[in-house]
Symmetry: C2
Subunit: 297 residues, 2 copies
């Protein structure tokens, strides 16, 4: 494995801007997480599990969901607005909990930022490269993520001998949002989408869309027991923890009693529907989702 | 049938604003049509067939698609922006070729407008009421259209004795956009969605989403031969023609040689993808799709 991929590591990019004059948020500031909608809650769940002492501000862009079918340019514009909003909430670091936005926007927005911004692609790709024995990795995601070729690009930087096979699965998100996570039709669609990936004999498959962990069991059934499933949500939470530690930004627990909500949720539309979905997948009760006008940021 | 529903007829509302001072577009100005994306092309196709002499400016809001899962407030805001854009193109009348936007926004935007604006709901509902013998009408559409209760509301104004049965079919749009219009899985999903509608014995079914005519054959198979399928796209084109005639706004063919494109297409994202889809369903070649920044309007 070639470890010489510092140039591609977006985690490092923000440091270029550390000379900026504004007072940066301290260690007890919250973490910002954004996604095109509800999918990023799978990442949020992992962050809550891995670093339970951290405060979180989540933004779900439910007015403009989905990002997966939109252009690079549009997704970058939306990501910049989302980041500007999260910065108004005083966050100390940002996680782009959306594969499409990570794919299109991470390099641009990380290079513009004075606080660390990480996406979900890098950690997932690194874990997949470390996991594969036969040097064949499968990637499933939205049309946007697949067309961006970000996973093959990042993986090639890490290990030029790995072959990457990609497949867009556009029906997975609506099926997950319809709650059809254990439906025979979903199984049939999964079997069909994943046949090619199976045929080429990958031993590792990246769930390259934050909704896909919700379909984990049908995906497992379709690819069989011998394929390692990589969930970038989990890997990203670990990467975030390591990053905060390295930067001396881990919450020290000394500033919790100031009356702020530990977890804040914001959306650009339909707060109530979001709250229902969030309560179905997060360990803590979500009661305080607020709607904001994201186009004003 | 009670014909006393003038209050609910949005076609009439714009006349309140005819006193506005601006010079209104003349009879040879184009018709504006907008939709959340590509679905409205089924309406455009019918307008091209029914009134082939008319010029058309189409706007597909592909950056913010879909509208079906968004709130009333958001859909009204988007519709206002889309209308402001179409007015910059000098249109003489506007068709909201999207059931969700028609459901949420037509009354608001028609009441604000100095040119006629019609939606797809009213014409479809009227045809269904005229068609049903057993006074049982089914409506299928997006979650947004169904939740708005616009069809039951409009139909109740037309005939209080009609029973309306609604069913949201959220997977139909992604299935149509995946091109799975003749797939066994789509048939299975259609059978499942339409079972309730079939069980209550409707004799008329409104295809209450502009994508659904693309799935007409699987819907036909699911409901059987004895149910009349109402396609609001067709009915709306007829209504538009009657409206233009009544208002003396039909194109007289005397202003065609001024170098303007007869059909203009604009989108808010991914012009190329739109052009491909448009060419698969429109009779004329689409070559000139332009991308605009809809949030600036």
């Amino acid at each position: 494995m070639n470890n010489d991929f510092t140039e591609q590591d977006p985690v490092k990019l923000y440091t270029l801007h550390r000379t900026a004059s504004r007072m940066l948020p301290g260690r007890n500031a919250p973490i910002g997480i954004f996604d095109s909608g509800v999918g990023g809650l799978t990442v949020t769940r992992e962050v809550m599990r891995q670093i339970p002492e951290e405060r979180i501000v989540y933004f779900g862009d439910t007015a403009r969901v989905p990002y997966g079918s939109k252009s690079r340019e549009t997704v970058i514009r939306y990501s910049r607005q989302n980041i500007r909003f999260l910065k108004t909430r005083g966050v100390k670091a940002i996680v782009i909990a959306c594969n499409t936005a990570s794919a299109h926007a991470i390099e641009t927005v990380a290079a513009e930022s004075d606080i660390p911004i990480i996406g979900v692609i890098y950690a997932g790709a690194k874990t997949a490269v470390n996991s594969t024995k036969n040097k064949r990795i499968g990637i499933i995601g939205t049309a946007g993520t697949v067309a961006s070729n970000i996973y093959p690009h990042v993986i090639a930087q890490m290990d030029g001998n790995v072959k990457v096979y990609q497949k867009a699965c556009p029906l997975f998100v609506p099926l997950a949002e319809e709650g059809m996570t254990d439906d025979p039709l979903t199984k049939e669609i999964a079997a069909r989408y994943l046949q090619e990936i199976k045929d080429v004999g990958v031993d590792t498959l990246v769930l390259g869309c934050t909704h896909y962990p919700l379909l984990r069991s049908v995906i497992r059934e379709a690819v069989g027991e011998n394929v390692t499933l990589v969930n970038p949500a989990y890997e990203t939470a670990l990467e975030l923890k390591a990053l905060l530690k390295r930067e001396n930004l881990l919450n020290d627990g000394k500033d919790d009693a100031d009356g702020k909500d530990k977890y804040e949720f914001y959306v650009s539309d339909l707060a109530e529907k979001f709250t229902d979905f969030a309560n179905s997948i997060l360990p803590n009760d979500v009661t305080n989702t607020k709607k904001i006008e994201i186009e004003e940021y």
